[in-house]
């Protein structure tokens, strides 16, 4: 399976980042830390996608007249797709921060057990 081979080192690092983000998102009690963990998961996925675009010995995807083979340029398609993904991640973070501000104004705390306790009391 090649588990310890260096050829898949990028995948193991990304998997570690993803699992760290997943664990923090589930186990942390502060809502802002959960949001930051979601950002970590997004970064892990974006980095993995861009790592798939690499080619050995390839150069930047800008056309230079002296280099004509297709395999001398790295794959530009994942880079374009991940620009969209980064912008969507920023949008999600912005709206989540606005929601957290409203939550803090309403309940006075950002710790999830306390917010749940106040919700149970008022229900």
């Amino acid at each position: 399976m090649g588990m310890l081979s260096l050829g898949a080192l990028h995948y193991w690092l990304v998997a570690c980042l993803l699992l760290i983000g997943l664990h923090s998102m589930l186990a942390q009690r502060n809502l802002l830390k959960k949001l930051m963990a979601m950002n970590i998961m997004q970064v892990a996925v974006i980095v993995f996608f861009i790592a798939l675009a690499a080619k050995t010995g390839g150069t930047v995807p800008i056309d230079t007249p002296s280099i004509k083979q297709v395999d001398a340029y790295i794959n530009p398609l994942p880079h374009a797709l991940m620009l969209t993904a980064i912008v969507v991640g920023v949008s999600t973070t912005g709206v989540a921060l606005a929601l957290l501000i409203r939550l803090y104004r309403r309940y006075g705390t950002l710790e999830e057990p306390e917010v749940l306790a106040q919700l149970m009391e008022s229900a």
């Binding site: 399976m1 090649g2 588990m3 050829g7 898949a8 080192l9 990028h10 995948y11 193991w12 998997a15 993803l18 699992l19 997943l22 664990h23 589930l26 186990a27 790592a51 798939l52 675009a53 690499a54 080619k55 050995t56 390839g58 995807p61 800008i62 056309d63 230079t64 297709v70 395999d71 340029y73 794959n75 530009p76 398609l77 994942p78 880079h79 374009a80 620009l83 969209t84 912008v87 969507v88 920023v90 949008s91 999600t92 912005g94 709206v95 921060l97 606005a98 929601l99 501000i101 409203r102």
Partner: protein
């Protein structure tokens, strides 16, 4: 509760370990992401769009509609921020001088 969290993390981790078998080697020029449509973009984008930068040509010409959707997404997020926080966009009574 904590045991459940570790169980979920272990489950996702085992799926990730199992999926490693199907990955192409890093830097492989004949991997599936580098075939089908990407060589066409590299070969013909400078002559078709007059732009040496392949990434800008893909983002703004071949896939311009997706970029329009993405700009709409960020605009909607800004609008949602303003509406959720009920921000006053202009002072009330402004611009009503006789």
């Amino acid at each position: 509760m904590r045991a459940l969290v570790w169980l979920v993390v272990l489950l996702v981790g085992s799926v990730l370990i199992y999926a490693e078998g199907g990955l192409p080697r890093l830097g492989d020029a004949h991997a599936p992401p580098a075939r089908h449509v990407s060589p066409r973009y590299i070969e013909r984008s400078h002559t078709e769009t007059g732009t040496p930068n392949f990434v800008t040509a893909i983002l703004a010409d071949y896939r311009a509609y997706d970029t329009l959707g993405e700009t709409t997404v960020i605009f909607t997020a800004g609008l949602a921020c303003v509406l959720i926080l009920r921000v006053q966009l202009q002072r009330p009574g402004r611009g009503r001088r006789p």
